[in-house]
């Protein structure tokens, strides 16, 4: 995948429920092989935007294109949901194997080896694969969910608040993991996050969503200079000051 190409092209996207418009004529390009961080107020439509891009929500108007989709039109993508969304009836290894099992006919031995390899890639051991989602800690749940999202080596990875609910050490490790895997496997990441550390450490570009539109877009230093009142409040508030971002 060549850097500089567009992985997701969003034009004039409108999404709403009833008479409430959540996403209002939004236009956004996500470049291939970049990590884009999306910030926005709680309830401001970040998750709605992501769910629309994935195809879980219908759009009122506008277009969402994936120019790098494979010839048969399908978009290989992985999604890491906020709570992990692991299938509680399957253990960790079976969760990772599930997409593989559906996509291709692998021999059971190879299926186990690939699943173990994926679990090791996200920093777990093969013996963790025996555990059921109810037995996993928050950080491990996120890692298994990431392994499942990466099971089919997607070109596009959607992350919904990947570090929420993790302690700072675990969050830092998870950030590093995403960065490393992205460098190794070369996928594109669309990430919703509230974690200012994640934005600073991992994201190539940051997009700020306010009033249903992109209020600021660019590398973090550029976004910090934005004049938009909400963006200023977000990055120059007391909590952000503590991180010496401003």
């Amino acid at each position: 995948m060549v850097a500089g190409q567009i992985a997701i092209r969003v034009r004039d996207l409108v999404v709403g429920f009833g008479d409430r418009i959540v996403i209002d004529h939004l236009t956004l390009d996500v470049r291939a092989a970049e990590i884009l961080g999306m910030v926005g107020a709680s309830g401001g439509g970040k998750s709605v935007l992501m769910r629309t891009l994935i195809g879980l929500l219908p759009r009122r108007s506008g277009t969402v294109e994936f120019p790098l989709s494979s010839p048969n039109g399908s978009v290989p993508r992985g999604v890491l949901f906020q709570q992990g969304a692991l299938f509680s009836a399957l253990n960790a290894r079976q969760n990772v194997q599930f997409p593989l099992r559906e996509a291709a006919h692998l021999s059971p031995a190879l299926l186990d080896e690939i699943a173990n390899a994926k679990l090791e890639m996200v920093g777990l051991s093969a013996s963790d694969g025996e555990k059921f989602p109810a037995e996993l800690s928050g950080g491990m749940t996120k890692r298994v969910a990431l392994a499942r999202a990466l099971a089919l080596d997607p070109a596009l990875l959607f992350l919904d608040e990947p570090t929420s609910g993790l302690d700072p050490i675990a969050a830092g490790e998870f950030d590093a993991l995403i960065k490393t895997l992205q460098r190794t496997l070369g996928f594109t990441v669309f990430m919703i996050t509230h974690d200012l550390n994640t934005l600073a450490a991992v994201c190539d570009r940051v997009a700020a969503l306010a009033d249903g539109r992109i209020a600021a877009l660019g590398p973090l230093p550029d976004v910090l200079k934005s004049d938009h009142p909400w963006v200023r409040a977000y990055f120059h508030g007391a909590r952000a000051q503590m991180l010496h971002l401003a």
Binding site: H105, L152, L185
Partner: protein
């Protein structure tokens, strides 16, 4: 299509393999076959310059091929690796190094029997433990009646008693009607139609009325108790109660079990009446026996003892249903599947125990001549 992967021997160097095409999960069946064939022959360094696409599955298969060569220094296992894929190959090279034990084999029948025995013992223990906990909670309430959760019990009584009346009456009415119809149909051959009244009366009052109602209550209310307590356990509500210094058994379980113990005899009585009504209606419309004769014969056929035998069993069946429901509810772990499994187990076990209890009561009443 040029993307179709291949693995061919070339004459450039000894046993050099040349890989071409897309080594991705979509071609995995072909890839596994190729690698299987290649690993049987002698393999050397693999030339990857013709690979057009590579994902983790393909990279892992290459890595496996490289590892299957005994003397292969792993650095020299691949030549001509496209720059975009070297990171992935290096990553995969680190993986699956630890020898994982073979999958645990499924237990032999003996192991399974042993496990079932252990589970049975653990279940019985949990059942007795719950019985003890409820007795303790009841003693606590007797000592301090003000601590009893009357509102909760009345609410539960409404749910498991009052709201259950229509469906219980309908089911028992139909059962009574069916027993009467079958009795008339078959007894007619012997000219013994009038004994249908004896059969319906004794069967309904002693056994069927209370048994059908208990089974219905186990399915309707026992399962609801298990699901409620289980989801409370899942969401740590029960732990929250304990940390506030409250006993979950006396707050949650005692009112529910007492409500069942009060409701089941009432439901059994109403059910028996509905069944007798159904039987009488069929005897009149299908058997041509007038209601007055039916009632007169019923008065001769059944005594209050039959009614006592039936109704005495009801509170004990209610206790068993409540205890099983509470035990299974407290066994729920974090997952949705566990909630479903315990709810199923609750209904199955309580129906089983209700029938076993009914059998024991039959022996007991027979031996004391009731």
């Amino acid at each position: 299509m040029s993307d179709v992967p291949s693995l061919t021997a070339t004459d450039r160097g000894p046993c050099l393999l040349q890989a071409r095409g897309a080594w991705t999960v979509s071609h995995v069946e072909l890839l596994e076959r190729l690698c299987g064939d290649a690993s049987r022959g002698k393999a050397g360094p693999i030339d990857l310059s013709g690979v057009t696409a590579l994902d983790t599955v393909g990279a892992w298969l290459f890595e496996k091929l490289a590892r299957s060569v005994p003397s292969g220094g792993s650095q020299s296992a691949f030549v001509g690796v496209p720059a975009a894929y070297s990171g992935l190959l290096n990553e995969v090279h680190q993986l699956n190094r630890a020898q994982t034990g073979a999958r645990r084999p499924h237990g032999f029948p003996i192991d399974r029997l042993v496990r079932m025995g252990r589970e049975l013992a653990a279940d019985s223990l949990a059942f007795l433990h719950m019985l003890g906990a409820i007795s303790m909670a009841l003693l606590g309430v007797l000592r301090r009646p003000a601590s009893f959760r009357l509102t909760s019990m009345v609410y539960q009584l409404g749910r498991v008693g009052w709201q259950a009346i229509p469906i219980m009456a309908l089911i028992t009415f139909l059962i009574g009607a069916i027993i009467a119809q079958q009795g008339i149909f078959h007894f007619r051959k012997f000219g013994a139609e009038s004994y249908v009244v004896d059969m319906v009366g004794i069967l309904v009052l002693r056994e069927i009325g209370v048994l059908i109602v208990a089974i219905m209550v186990a399915g309707r209310s026992g399962s609801a108790y298990t699901a409620e307590l289980g989801s409370m356990k899942m969401r740590e509500e029960i732990d929250a109660l304990s940390t506030m210094g409250l006993d979950p058994v006396s707050v949650l379980i005692l009112p529910r079990v007492l409500a069942l113990i009060v409701a089941l005899p009432i439901l059994a009585f109403l059910g028996s009446m509905a069944a007798l009504y159904g039987g009488g209606l069929v005897a009149w419309l299908y058997g041509g026996m007038s209601p007055a004769i039916f009632i007169a014969r019923l008065r001769e056929a059944v005594s209050v003892t039959h009614f006592e035998v039936g109704i005495l069993k009801a509170p004990f069946m209610a206790l068993v249903i409540g205890l099983v429901a509470a035990c299974e509810g407290f066994k729920v772990k974090g997952s949705a599947e566990s909630l479903g499994a315990q709810t199923t187990a609750s209904v199955v076990k309580s129906i089983f125990l209700v029938i076993v209890l009914d059998g024991l009561f039959a022996i007991f009443f027979a031996s004391i001549g009731m």
